[in-house]
Amino acid sequence: MSDLPTRRDEAWRYSDLEAVAGVWPVATRTHVVAPGETLVLPILIDGDADSVGIEDHAIEVGAGARVEAQVAVTGGRLGRVSLSVKLGRGAHLSLAGVIVGGGQETHEIVTHVTHAEPDATSEQTVRIILGGQATGSYLGKVAVARGAQGTDAIQSAKAMLLNRTATANLKPELEIYADDVKCAHGATVGELDAQALFYLASRGIAPAEAKTLLLRAFVGGLVEENSPFAAAIDKALERVL
């Protein structure tokens, strides 16, 4: 486990391995959520341009328990959050993830969600905004164990590229060994709507403000207004626009 990851390792394929080497090994933080309990897990990686921030979490979620993960990676040469979540019977995971990257930054959200028992639900929503030569990745694997009937798993990942030189990697992945399950996933990569930008400009809104308005709408609903997350995202948007 403490071997330095390589490109051959799927979960690290798009990472900045040179940056990883400087901080390796990274300890895994483990959480056990007792049946019926709720774990709220806010993770904000917002270091300065040279920093490397990696957080690796392993979460075991008991029957009927909930995890509400709020993840934002908005700063650092390498910012990476990986979550390994094992859901018990009727447990629930919600992940709201936001990445904002610019310059040469590499920002990643990597999840491995196991529906180990019946009737668990998971909902992962990730929005990625990239400028410059930044790389942003969402690698999300959902594994449904044999017998985990009644699983309901949703993954929605969308990336917005501010420059054609930025790179987004979106990889929802499903591995299903049960037959009565609902697994939905969607992934899109796009650019800001030129028509909307012109419409905003025609009403007097300057390009940077117009882009900020559209990008805030793009991540809207995933972060609470006036939270530290919203502030970090706003600050990062200013930097990458």
């Binding site: 709507d193 419409y199 025609s202 007097g204 809104i205 390009p207 805030r216 709408a217």
Partner: protein, 251 residues
Amino acid sequence: MTSHMLNISNLHAEVDGKAILKGITLAINPGEIHAIMGPNGAGKSTTAYVLGGRPGYAVTEGSVTFDGADLLEMEPHERAAAGLFLGFQYPVEIPGVSNLQFLREALNAQRKGRGQEPLSGGEFIKLARAQANELGLDPEMLKRPVNVGFSGGEKKRNEMVQMGIIGPKLAILDETDSGLDIDALKTVGDGINTIMRRPDRAVLLITHYQRLLDYVKPDFVHVLANGRIVRSGGPELALELEREGYGAIAA
């Protein structure tokens, strides 16, 4: 040196390398309402977009001044701040941004450009509600995302609400009458009159049909065909067009 508000001189423009405007000359003074009519493909919408500064519309020849300043040198948002309002034939939907937020950003951006203080939230909401009521738009629509799920008529009313809040010097209205039923047409026509018929404001109406001109009486009517103004006249020209068709007039 002229005192025209808008002075278009020998304007040529192309889109995707194809010449669309081939020498438009037109002067608009404060207090005047002009209508440009013409068949499909004549260059009516292109005229509006070129004046608004839409990317992809390249001016190849000619000049446009607005209050004496070179309009074509300005960015689209600067044109708006200078007092130009472009009413869209197809208003754009912007999911996730509420109408109120959009309008407030727009108004305050323009106030900032004029060196005025931004309006407070309370003042702004009062202004927006009053405008919406005036134009028959349910004020609840102001809370909804910009134009998302609006009917054609609601989108056009919303354009007029924006125009009322912003209070431009010159409104260029591109087929504001398309997609409107008779009641909406009357409301929108009344809106244009209330907001824009003033000695210091002017309107350029772009339309296919005479019917909007029953409500908004133009001082001048121009016929655009194949990228040029081929005839100009008073309001009677619109009636003549309606009677005889573009073919006879533009030939």
